[in-house]
């Protein structure tokens, strides 16, 4: 493609939505910082009204002092300079950016949900019941015998899995097991979690079909294997067809099989990790169960285990202890016999768990199965409509296309100009210039067509056009290298630059 091609103007292309993101421009910057609107210094102790001796207090504090209307505008403007799920499609592979039902915010905001973590168990029976019922729901959905809700995110769930595995092996006199096997295409958190748990990581190459290479797995397994961490469907969207054999191989050497729940949205009501031979799994409730991502969290990463591992789960857990007054069940906290202890100060991200409970209770069996069916249908339909090559299949809820001669990161930037969020890029590395795409079940056919049109329009554009993108977003292409070369991480450092 020649460099003098005229770029498609997404605002005049009838197949496209006209899109311009809000942009407040203000003398070489966008919306000013709070600190540029006001800086008020408050001295402490000068006027003699400090209730503490001077040597126990700071001298002063300098922060913005702004009125509520000023703040309302500031944060409204900031929000307008963000693309969210309610703005348009958000097909980030592995991130499961599905619509977050509004009513779940209302139930999490109930005053009865706002309780202190040190309340007596008798006075929080509602909270304990909700946690108990959510444990039960998740156990059924994953095919697991016991569930802890404590991990506050997926990576924290992985950490629980790794610590439980360590405690289990230690308990069996096999504390020498020092290796965790992870496929090369796995999420980065798997590697980092295993390392945090003190394990050596054994990286497993994929076979030519994009799945676990059984020969390589055989070679990697040994009496030192503590666990194999696996995502299924894997990051290419492929189901690990040999999962039963994989489970047998891992169990034969005495290792445990860990399920990374990032891709569970593909399987609801169709297959369960517990039935595939997995011993431990985490659930990403902010993916599969539609709790909002909040710009990077909070999420929740509950962990399910088979009965043999139940006694190692974090403390405390919730159990039912029979009927109380008025015939209602009563619930209590308890410490499992061989517990690994806490991985969070209390019980994790409670308000997120309330939202997840509400989502599951709303959808039920049919709704959950339908979500997965349509997630897989949507991914396959979108794939059928885009011109980029998709080297691996059959895929489920996500697929990884290759941008070919184009730079996947540039493709992503240009897609922003078409009013859609781009896919995850350049990962997994097994596909060159990867465009990892997961539309989720929430998109209509019309939206998928629009998304496909954006992919296809960009596929035809020149590298020059791509390199100049985006132009319709608040900010134009950002130089990320200079941010790292000259780190300025607070407004204090900007003020120093000015002087």
């Amino acid at each position: 493609m020649s460099d003098d091609q005229t770029p498609t103007d997404p605002t005049t292309d009838a197949s496209q939505v006209r899109y311009d993101q809000a942009r407040y421009v203000n003398d070489g910057q966008y919306e000013p910082l709070l600190s540029e609107k006001d800086q008020t210094s408050v001295d402490i102790g000068d006027d003699g009204d400090s209730p503490l001796p001077d040597d126990l207090t700071r001298d002063s504090i300098k922060l913005p002092e702004l009125s509520e209307p000023e703040l309302a505008r500031h944060y409204t403007r900031l929000s307008q300079m963000i693309y969210g799920i309610d703005s348009g499609p958000y097909p980030l592979g592995s991130c499961t950016m599905k619509y977050n039902p509004k009513f779940t915010e209302d139930v999490a905001a109930l005053p009865s949900a706002a309780i202190h973590p040190d309340r007596s168990e008798e006075s929080i029976q509602g909270t304990l019941e909700l946690l108990y019922r959510l444990q039960d729901y998740l156990g059924r959905i994953g095919g697991m015998d016991a569930v802890t809700l404590q991990p506050p995110a997926g990576a924290a769930g992985e950490f629980v899995g790794i610590r439980v595995a360590a405690a289990y092996h230690e308990h069996n006199g096999e504390g020498h097991r020092n290796e965790v096997i992870i496929p090369e295409s796995a999420h980065g958190t798997n590697f980092a979690t295993a390392a945090l748990g003190g394990y050596d990581v054994v990286s497993l190459p994929s076979d030519e079909d994009g799945r676990v290479d059984l020969g390589a797995l055989e070679a990697a397994l040994s009496e030192n294997t503590a666990a194999l961490m696996l995502t299924n469907p894997n990051t290419l969207g492929l189901f690990e067809r040999d999962i039963e054999e994989i489970a047998d191989m891992v169990h034969d050497v005495g290792g445990l099989l860990y399920y990374d729940g990032a891709n569970l949205n593909a399987l609801l009501g169709r297959a369960r990790p517990g039935d595939m031979g997995f011993d431990v799994m985490h659930y990403n409730v902010h993916k599969t169960f539609a709790t909002p991502h909040g710009g990077g969290g909070p999420g929740a990463g509950p962990v399910g285990v088979v009965a043999e591992l139940e006694s190692f789960l974090p403390a405390p857990r919730v159990r039912e202890v029979g009927g109380g007054a008025n015939g209602a069940e009563t619930y209590e906290l308890f410490d499992p016999e061989h517990t690994i202890g806490n991985v969070h100060g209390f019980q994790g991200n409670w308000l997120v768990l309330v939202k997840a409970f509400a989502y599951i209770a709303r959808l039920g069996d049919e709704g959950l199965a339908d979500a997965s069916a349509k997630a897989v249908l949507n991914a396959n339909y979108l794939a059928s409509q885009i011109e980029y090559e998709i080297p691996y299949g059959p895929f489920h809820h996500e697929f990884v296309a290759s941008a070919g001669d184009q730079d996947a990161a540039d493709v992503a930037k240009r897609m922003l100009d078409y009013g859609v969020h781009p896919p995850t890029t350049k990962w997994p590395e097994i596909v060159p210039e990867a465009l990892m795409t997961e539309p989720t079940e929430v998109e209509s056919k019309d939206t998928l067509d629009r998304l496909a049109a954006a992919f296809n329009a960009v596929a035809k554009e020149s590298n020059k056009v791509l390199e100049d993108a985006p132009e319709r977003t608040t900010a134009r292409r950002i130089d990320q290298t200079s941010a790292a070369r000259n780190p300025r991480l607070s407004w204090h450092e900007l003020a120093e630059e000015d002087t």
Partner: protein, 447 residues
């Protein structure tokens, strides 16, 4: 169900008409959705979960009826989590769906608003701590403490093994810390406290070159204000150990600035501002000295320029993180508490510096006043510790503390039991008339 309920089969959040589905299947080249699932028969799930679907209204009613089993109590509870009043501004603006429903800012051009809010959050913590670096968040105080210990191990020039924490440290924090260091050569040990604050002499005698980190809290979990932070810092420094301090944004508005007393890392729960009491859900505060920049865990937002040379914000120094560095990352954290950080920044901005200092000062005076009122009752001595306090204090009760707490709970008040004859009482977020009612009630209870 009634006329205002809508009930659909399948997911109410997944559109598609039957016609649309047919067209899509044709385009894919299959006859049914089932054909798209490449799952071996042996592992197919053909049973049911046994979870009933409900309308939105029924679901709301269900959650409400379950949570209604929580007793409505006036909480005089603290020990790290506080029920400060949250201005309506925070809920209304943080709930704007662009904030709530967006992902981590991997495409900064289309995420400037959230990046700027997180940069402002970092700046708030830099101002409060006096330390140069603050990350966008850890999960909570306990996990931030764990991350501080692994940081301490990474940055120390010579190897060491001991992490020292106060004997008063909350069990959940200590246990979490122990899990975080389980994969390292570090061990966690307690040092004694004296009348509610650090026993500096005892600390000094236990510190040796094998210590990599000394942890203290200000205020302490019993509400006392630490008086010898500088000495603690000197002791840590003498052993080439990191001095890690636990605190929170309200306390930091008034108490000694950590950077002024030799602190290397501040951790804590920043959601003291921004979140109601949420059964322990938090926001891990993590700030440290600039020299540890390349070893910091978690996300950092920095400044750069875009193609038009305008100032912009972007995630930066990502080569520390798991998605790039994998097993050599500084932490495994990915999803964090970004939206809570936004709420904390909003709450702090809403208070302004005058409001924050005032809130902290009132924590001191109101705790003092309540302690004096309780101390006037027969069978109660308060505060137990001869120290300055903020927000909360421990009171001695002549009767068994669990019985007192149980009786108070029956009458609508929650307090901590922290010893056989010790209760802990917190004033943060409790209106004055509720404190009056509490005093009247406990007067009857201890009678």
């Amino acid at each position: 169900m009634n006329e205002s309920d809508t009930h659909t089969t399948g997911s109410p959040y997944a559109p598609h008409t039957d016609d649309g589905r047919t067209v899509m299947l044709e385009a894919i080249g299959v006859d049914s959705v089932d054909e798209l699932f490449d799952i071996p028969e042996d592992v197919r799930f053909t049973d049911e979960f046994g979870i009933d679907a409900r309308s939105e209204r029924e679901t709301r009613r269900l959650v409400r009826s379950v949570l209604d089993r929580n007793t409505d109590l006036t909480e005089l509870l603290g020990r790290g989590h506080y029920g400060y009043y949250i201005p309506s501004l925070v809920d209304h603006l943080a709930d704007r769906s662009e904030f709530l429903t967006s992902y981590t800012q991997y495409q900064p051009e289309v995420s400037q608003g959230f990046l700027q809010a997180l940069f402002e959050y970092q700046s708030l913590l830099v101002e409060l701590t006096g330390l140069e670096i603050a990350n966008c968040s850890m999960y909570d105080a306990a996990t931030a403490l764990g991350e501080a210990a692994t940081l301490a191990e990474r940055v120390r020039s010579t190897s060491g093994h001991r992490v020292l924490v106060p004997d008063l440290l909350r069990d959940g924090r200590r246990s979490t810390l122990e899990n975080y260091v389980a994969g390292t050569d570090l061990t966690v040990e307690s040092y004694p406290t004296d009348d509610g604050t650090v026993d500096v002499g005892a600390l000094e005698s236990t510190v040796d070159d094998d210590v990599v980190m000394v942890y203290a809290e200000n205020p302490t979990v019993r509400g006392t204000i630490e008086e010898q932070l500088e000495s603690i810092g000197d002791i840590a420094d003498g052993a080439d150990a990191l001095f890690v301090l636990g605190s929170d944004p309200v306390a930091l508005s008034l108490l000694q600035r950590p950077a002024d007393v030799g602190v290397d890392v501040v951790i804590g729960d920043a959601s003291v501002l921004g979140l109601p009491t949420s059964y322990g859900m938090g926001l891990g505060l993590f700030a440290c000295r600039e020299e540890y920049l390349r070893q910091v865990p978690g996300r950092l937002v920095g400044v750069s320029e875009d193609e038009t040379d305008r100032r912009v914000f972007t995630l930066t120094l990502q080569t520390r993180e798991q998605h790039i560095r994998r097993e050599r990352a500084t932490s495994n954290i990915c999803t964090n508490q970004a939206w809570v950080a936004l709420r904390t920044a909003m709450h702090a901005a809403s208070l302004g510096p005058n409001g924050m200092v005032d809130l902290a000062k009132r924590g001191v005076t109101r705790a003092e006043e309540l302690a004096a009122r309780l101390d006037g009752l027969d069978g109660v001595q308060a505060p137990v510790h001869d120290r300055h306090h903020i927000r909360e204090f421990v009171a001695h009760v002549d009767q068994p503390a669990p019985a007192i707490a149980e009786d108070l709970e029956k009458r609508g008040f929650a307090v901590h039991v922290v010893g056989e004859h010790e209760i802990q009482v917190c004033v943060a977020g409790v209106p004055d008339d509720d404190l009056d009612d509490f005093v009247a009630t406990i007067t009857e209870v201890v009678r």
